[in-house]
Amino acid sequence: MENESLYIYGATLMMVLGTFSCRELPLLLLRGRKLPDWFSIWLKYIPTAIFGAIIFPDIFLKDNALNFSLENYSLWATLCAFPIVYKTRSLPMALIAGTIFFCIFKYVI
């Protein structure tokens, strides 16, 4: 098997371990016992922190360096789309607005 395929199957295995343990632990070990209160507070902050942590490097960095030039289409498209996405909180809107702004910065400006 080539390396790339091995890498993808490895990633799949990691995904399975990650999702499986979270789905099955409460059923097998906790047997329905209540999770602690701090856990639910902690859990509330995880998704927002994760998506921030993924999005920011994707848009601010280009070739491993901060890039604020107009050539960094992702950054400007995101900054323009963000107010709309934040207001509507809609996934389809994010895709439409993001794509339109990206194309404007890449092909028009």
């Binding site: 409460p26 922190a49 920011f56």
Partner: protein, 229 residues
Amino acid sequence: MHFNKKVIQRAMPIYVGYLFLGLACGILGQQAHISPMEAFIMSILAYSGSGQFICIAMLMDQASLFSILVTNFMVSLRYMFFSTAMYPHIRHCSLPYSIAFGQNITDETFAVNIDSFTKDKDWDVHQGLALGFSPCLVWACANFIGCTAAAWLNPPTELVSYILVAMFLGIWSNYLHENELLVAGITGGILSVILSFIVPFKLHIVLSTLIVSAIACWLEVRYLKQKAG
């Protein structure tokens, strides 16, 4: 597993949603050099929408398997709550059946299932499992088709990578219903950028998430204690 008309009726909105998201996920996956079969297998085994999108972004970044594991574990932590809430309804089932049921819990199937268990006295685990598993097939097939179609269409890579960012932006916005959450997200983002210069193996995502969510949790617990005391 009992697949009937009622299951189809209740699961229909999930089928439609997973069809479109699955097509998108397959197209994006192809850009990370995932083959249609690999996309199908990953979708059946992991069955996690945002988890798979994040995994694709990390594969494109050549992240280490360890950081893929930890990131995925953290996005999946919410399933612990769903499984805990589902436990009373499936406690009488055999071990393999419980495991199968647990494996088919997603945000959407959980919501519809818990609603059905509460409101419909004829609803049972067999229909519940069918309601969990049938959208998984839709999701996996849509991934396969999207991945196959992308290889034919050959969409511009730069735009497709950006669509993945736009997708994350859309998912992120759903978690921003309080100002603290926005602050936590932005702090996580800035910390992640800084850490990406320092830490190896693309662990900056995991680390900044852990640090920011732990601090936010600590602050909120302290605030609640002060308010109570």
